[in-house]
Subunit: 237 residues, 2 copies
Amino acid sequence: MKRKSNAKSNACTECNVNNLTIFNKLTIDEINYINFEKTCYQYKKNTILYNEGNRISGCYCVHDGIIKLYKTGIEGREHIIRFAKAGDLIGYRSLFSGELACHSAKVLEDATVCFIPGEVMFNLVEQNSKFALEILRLACHELDVANSFIRDMAQKTVKERLAEILLILKDDFGIDENNYIKINLTREDLANIIGTATESVIRLLGEFKDQNIIDIEGRKIKLLDINSLQKISEKSA
Amino acid sequence: MKRKSNAKSNACTECNVNNLTIFNKLTIDEINYINFEKTCYQYKKNTILYNEGNRISGCYCVHDGIIKLYKTGIEGREHIIRFAKAGDLIGYRSLFSGELACHSAKVLEDATVCFIPGEVMFNLVEQNSKFALEILRLACHELDVANSFIRDMAQKTVKERLAEILLILKDDFGIDENNYIKINLTREDLANIIGTATESVIRLLGEFKDQNIIDIEGRKIKLLDINSLQKISEKSA
DNA sequence: CGTATCCTTGAACCATGTCAAGCAATGTGG
DNA sequence: CCACATTGCTTGACATGGTTCAAGGATACG
């Protein structure tokens, strides 16, 4: 399940996701420092990187694949917080808050992930204030997003939230040449993002399909009418 | 509504909320720097400090009083994010994410608030990495809290959330000698925190009262049976 | 090829929202 | 200080969105 990949193809200086990440404010020397200290792993689908409540000793930079971050709630029910993809950093939250992991991380699609020890992160924050500000910017932005989502959970219906999440997934993962969203989730996963029952997701996706707003092929969702989705998600339809 | 208070009683070096705040990692020189650059204001109830969408040019440190932070949602409905009290910092999120204010701030109880220009905050982050880490810690912690609340919104019933929020308010604001929570909110405010209708809050508070879990005197809520509240909020009752 | 997981549909139930109406408390201006 | 206006509180009746349960079919996987 967990396998160190050969270092060659993973030099941070040549990493094509580098400019997507918060590391773009680092000097070459600092990048090399990370490169020297990090460890790369390849994980198969369903591997657990860490569990809620674990102590996190560093953070993970996703090179490719998709990682699902989720919290376990009442009666063991899973609640999905977000998905991390190429260029995303995970675990930094617990690292910098000094708290135990507040979520579990599980591989959704086979992934290559670099582990950066916490000490390295702290050293970089101390010696490069631009980097510190960059992480701060990231955390503050995620906080905005989280609070907006709380409001949406509070005020929107399940249908509105489903339309919203389809649009968010589109923005985060993009669509292919046939307008299919480039992430395949089970109905249950979708339900666990927006906080509803699997059956409700199924019925509502069916409804969207009947209205020619989306098309469905197994787990692949094709967006036909983004405008309508937008209207639905904003209650203006 | 907005009035500069005399500076004497507000010297940061003598501020009794100082050790509650993230500023406790600063040197005396740095505290004096803030003291020199800040401006203190006294605000009456219902004053708006800033509105969602405003550009924020600094952040506010609450000296006393209570500030309500809320987002405006669909059809103008208010959703309360949190309350800031003595020692809390507000506006830092938008400042550091470089985005427009993602919420409005309104005075709930007459407040004294110090405005610290953004430039000062940025300078301090740059020159004192312990301070940077402290803000980062704060932001990451708030992110944890926000994500937990999203899960709760997704998985808990209105009754469970109401029990939960009463306990949170107790922890945040404390209780007086008669076990009354030291913050007075309208039923509508309570509804706007947990995302429900005012009528539901009224009915559920009545239910809690009938079960001798709480007592109610106008807007003041007295906690009689914290254990039961805990059980309810965790679905174990 | 059999087992596990996922998907789908129908039916029944219920928690919660909405609407309406009246009352209480609070605030404001003359 | 009173009268009026506004805001907040309460209750009942009703509508409905959404959950839950059950059962069967489809699909993926070892």
